[in-house]
Amino acid sequence: MPFGGVSLLFVSSALVALVVSVALYIFYTITKHEDIGAAGSIIAWLGTAFLTLALVFRTIASGHGPFANMYEYSVSFAWGVTLCYLLIERQLKSRTLGALVLPIGALILAMAAHGWLFNIRISSDIEPLVPALQNNLLLTVHVAVAIFAYGMFAVAFGSAIMYLIQSGSMRVSWLPDAEVLDDTSYKSVMIGVPLFALVIILGAYWGNVAWGRYWGWDPKETASLVTWLIYLGYLHSRAIAGWKGRPAAVLLAIGFAAVLFTFFGVNLFLSGLHSYA
């Protein structure tokens, strides 16, 4: 399958581009040299374009959306994180978050492409869909929406971590103001929470069709619910005086840990109906 090979090539190119862009973003964050920042953005967009092509070729080669196993799912996740970040960057007109968010995308991609570096095995072989997944429309919508929600949560995580730095006693002059960071986190969660609700509901709908129940406390279902509840807690925490600010930012950090657990942990450590991806 030549298309499969082309896809792998694009994944490698995207990884290189992302690593370079991360280096440029870090350099930019410290020096504030606009040209370096602009170069970082362009290369990050290039990496995202490579990932888009990788996913397109993968889809052509396999005949189904690139969500059938851990490898495809991870490449899609990395694509979602970088794309969501870059879209938010355009909205904010500020590049500083990239130094924290883009490495997340690069790491996930590295994990998918070179799992041995992290002592996990993720096969990049093209696999046919198991019977439960043979519902192309639901598979595509369910996972694509999840990818965007995760991407938004990754951005929220990056800005929450920076917020924790900026709202403390060790303010860093070359990072954005705490207020801007808080705003960014909130806006990302604002997009992420309804999207993720939709992911869970689509999953429930699919579960009802394929397994005959809309909810069964399967580990993946449970982990998704836990993740969503944490972000729901974050939204409510903003209405409580003592929880605004740092505690809310800590919730976002925990929330992203839950995202990673839902994404990787459930598949690697727990068995359940979702263990194919």
């Binding site: 696999e127 046919p128 198991v130 019977p131 439960a132 043979q134 519902n135 705003d183 909130y186 806006k187 604002m190 929470v193 309804p194 609700a197 939709l198 509901i201 429930a204 709908y205 009802n208 069709v209 394929a210 397994w211 005959g212 129940r213 809309y214 406390w217 580990p219 449970t222 982990a223 619910l225 836990v226 509840l229 944490i230 729901l232 807690g233 409510h236 925490s237 903003r238 209405a239 409580i240 929880w243 459930v266 727990l270």
Partner: protein
Amino acid sequence: MNQSTGATATTSQSDVFDLLWRFFSSIKLALGLILLIAFTSLLGALIVQAPAGVLNNPLEYHRWLDTVRLKYGPLTDIYSTLGLFDVYNVAWFKILLLGLVFNTVICTVNRLPSLLAVLGVPKIKMGDSLFKNAKVRASFKPRGAREKSGAVVESLVRVLSRKNYKVFVEGEGDTTYLFADRFGIFKLGTLVTHTSIVVLLVGTVMGGMFGFVDDGVIIPEGKTYNVGFGENFQVRADDFVAQYWEDGRPKDYYSDLVVIENGKEVLKQRIRVNEPLEYRGVRFHQSFFGPVATLEVRDSNGQVSYSDDLPLSSSSGFNSVGITSLAGNVVLVASLPQGGLNQLAVQLYQGDSQLARGTVGLGQTQNIGGYQVTFKGTKQFTGLRVVKDPGVPIVWLASAMLVIGVCLTLYFPRRRIWARISQREVALAGTADRMVNFQKELEELVGEVRAQEAQVQESRKRGG
């Protein structure tokens, strides 16, 4: 004396009620419950959950506990007492869930008057202190100080209406008051979201009350299954097929089902994992499958003591075994050794002791413990999950309400502007929900109003 005691008692009663009301209407409680439910759910994913089969049987449950004792050691009994091996069904977890629903209801009822106020008549005339102290405010001098303030009022109304504000104007002498509300109605989004939680509860409870589930229905090919649960129809499985890819991964599982009602075939359908059969609100989902051994067993007198399709549906190690009881408390256990289809291993038990064991080749008869066992053939059975859940549409309704409500609340933050317009000054004050940079918006608005004002003046001059 008596009277005063009575009065005190009433006061303290209402105090208690007040206290409870405040407790259950607090958003802190909501946050606490949300995080606690999240944590408990996570425990259920991390701690091995007892299979449904052993939960109703204390003896089997204890046997199961011993198997997990290897993993959890002395914690096993603590976990078991706390119900952590069946977290999602334990009473205290359900109390947490109900607590959150109750909390949501009380919170919403508490806010109802202020939420419904958006539908009522707003207060247009505001006092001086608002225009002096509001966090978001602006003021400017209207053009043409000598003429009446009409031009600026008209401009304000125009600009605000263009921005989808609902505008209310009230005059008092030389001063005009104005109130503008944008997305006020979307405040009710919270109501939709919070109601969805109650609707969700109704949906799940309805499913439990008026529905049924049997997730272990086994139908050998060619056999008919009586649905039961008060349903008056049967389902026959004509065929089951499992297909595999070259590398051994499953490709497709399907069963050909026929619905029979009053002795007539009313519906034929091939079901797959993603394509269940639905008849009269009952759904049949392809769930599992396995081998069937067709057996005939005659006792020492030559009497037939068993002649049927025996599904080998229980698993024992790597083998699928089928179990059936014969007369005289004798239990027959059959399995296909090494997954082959040509040999059937048969064991006979009485109580805990094994009476005899032997192997029968396909199409042959063997004497095992005095019984003539004939292995007539093999076929497959299809394993179905049969479910009726009238609560499902209500659950989807709740889901839609949840997403729509959340979007309304998050994406349409309400903005309110009050204005006091006199010949000397136009004073504006405003509030907005959440992350709106309202000061900036208000200043932009002032700019637009001033531009509009110039236009209005111009056209009036020309007209006059």
